[in-house]
Assembly symmetry: C2
Homo-oligomer: 341 residues x 2
DNA sequence: TTGTAGGCGTTATCAG
DNA sequence: CTGATAACGCCTACAA
């Protein structure tokens, strides 16, 4: 079944393409009679404007690109969901691309979106991203652009973030409050701003509480996996038998921590208390249930799209848009893995 | 920064648009000299063809649509990943849409993809989908179309499936093999083919082993959630204290089962053995680790795209394509929740 | 109230 | 080897 065109409708009705076009868009200068005739026929023929042609004319595709490090990830799934739903509400479609935590791939994906001429770009940087070049290009081209979660501070785009330092501080303070004296930190890779910030939050909170910071108690993930959680916990227990608290960069890692401790019959939280970050669903069904920092992933997706939409609208109207940074709140969730009284 | 066009390059070089276009596409009938000049300038100006115009001309967008019930779902995340990666390899982009398990929304999303004029559609039906109308329309319009996972058998499209009956039978047979005499089944909703098939697999296997089927031992999920797993287990234990095995429609539900049993100190697998379906990551980190059926989600995504690609290629060449059904293998994974010797 | 004409940027055909 | 011309389908001044 071939798609109908304005031309065909015009021919069938013996009128001009222009009139058909106008009638369908409810222009005031078309007689009610023709309007009705056109609309009826269009309805009957199941007419929908050819979006390729509309795109070309309007220079818009009502499509945005979303680049994330990894699709199979509780946090990012929720972001995707938020973005898709908010986009849908506003008549936008979403193309999803993965960077697989590789800078090179991330750059390639940005190029793809350039070629596709999406109306806007949403991005959470890969852990590997220590170069800004491709982001600068987005700005130079004047494409509406919002960074979220893992961002590059120096790029003058809108940003949706949480206060990682503050949130990490809350986690560590909580461990201290329940009596932990020697807290290890399994941190994320070197580059990402949020893994740096969480580390800083950890460090500052120790110092604030008069606990000397010891770099030997910090273990650095390469890939932020469950397996690394298991492995580092093994090392922690071996190297520092008196550690009584572990703060992990993310719940996935924390669950690795719990697994190792459980299997080796190390009491949680009595001997070692554990807290993660992100509030993955999984944490609630573990035994013991995992304490964590709730990070509003779904809301982050919504906020990111909303801000992008604002910028896209400004752009369409030719008005100026000044990038904004929105900080979303986090909250401490205390569950069994760090509950003492 | 405005995008460069063929016209501009042509003007700068004092040659025709046609020649520029041909030079860039390496037509044999352009002199090496002009070719080089054009390519150099194009490179320098960062020229990329305007995809809107290309789409209009070629009637292709090199974009496909993927409709799934829910993004935040281990199985579907993996499918998405497979689709995106395979699409990427072949120069296609993927627009993702959610049906939220609602028929109405699913229909709307299909319409959106029609309007967007994607080159092909991939779909896994919502649990609510008891109507085929919108799927028939995809066929009528001649849009390349592959169903996967939750499919409508009657629609003559390509399909990627697993043998749910066989896989469920393997799960139940395993429970019987380790000595279970009274096995309850927490099944999925009425409509989806796979929940029906898994139920049939359960029923047939009981009968094959001389265990009478008892419909009272079957509990039906509405939303296939963790909470339903918890709740139904409570009922099972109350109504049938002698149940010694539970087969759940999916791992998420099975994890609810485990949670309830753990919290109520009912020994797994000794008093009640548990097996799920799908092999979610979560199942590996539970205590006890969850037995399950591995379902190749990532591979399903790859297979779905590959088949769609074949159909899209046929369509482009104008050759005929006959829908195929590909059945992927599953395997039983025995872990602690059903391990006895 | 209706229609003509031009153009969005590319590709394909065909003539020079 | 090169280029003029005509689409693709729609939108929008501007005429009539």
């Amino acid at each position: 079944m071939k798609a109908t065109t304005l031309k065909e409708i015009a021919a069938m009705l013996g009128i001009s393409i222009t009139t058909v076009s106008k009638a369908l868009k409810n222009y005031p200068d078309v007689s009610p009679k023709t309007k009705k005739a056109v609309k009826d026929l269009a309805e009957q023929l199941n007419f929908t404007p050819n979006s390729f042609a509309v795109n070309l004319r309007t220079k818009e595709s009502r499509t945005i690109g979303l680049i994330i490090p990894e699709v199979v990830h509780h946090f990012f799934s929720n972001v995707i969901k938020g973005v898709i739903e908010e986009a849908d509400k506003n008549g936008y479609l979403v193309i999803i691309l993965q960077s697989n935590e590789s800078l090179e791939l991330e750059q390639k994906q940005v190029e793809l979106l350039f070629n596709k001429r999406v109306d806007g770009i949403l991005i959470s940087l890969s852990n590997d991203s220590n170069d800004d070049h491709h982001l600068k290009k987005i700005i130079t081209r004047g494409i509406p652009f919002v960074q979220f979660d893992k961002i590059s501070k120096l790029i003058p785009s809108s940003k949706i973030v949480i206060n990682d330092q503050k949130a990490a501080a809350a986690a560590v303070q909580h461990l201290i409050d329940i009596g932990c004296k020697k807290i290890a930190h399994i941190r994320g890779p070197e580059n990402p701003q949020n893994s740096v910030d969480r580390f800083i939050g950890y460090k500052k909170t120790l110092e604030k509480n008069g606990i000397p910071f010891d770099s030997k108690l910090v273990y650095t993930c390469q890939n932020v996996t469950y397996e690394e959680g298991v492995e580092f916990t093994k090392q922690i227990v071996k190297d520092h038998p008196d550690v009584d608290g572990i703060f992990a960069i993310t719940d996935l890692v924390a669950i690795g921590v719990l697994s190792y401790l459980n299997e080796n019959h190390i009491a949680v939280p009595d001997q070692i208390a554990v807290i993660g970050f992100s509030n993955w669903f999984m944490g609630q069904v573990m035994m013991p249930k995992l304490s964590t920092i709730d990070q509003p992933s779904y809301d982050m997706g919504i906020a990111a799209f909303s801000l992008l939409l604002e910028e896209m609208n400004c752009r369409r109207e030719g008005s100026l848009f000044s990038p904004r940074t929105v900080e979303l709140g986090t909250s401490l969730i205390v569950r069994q893995s760090s509950f003492k009284n």
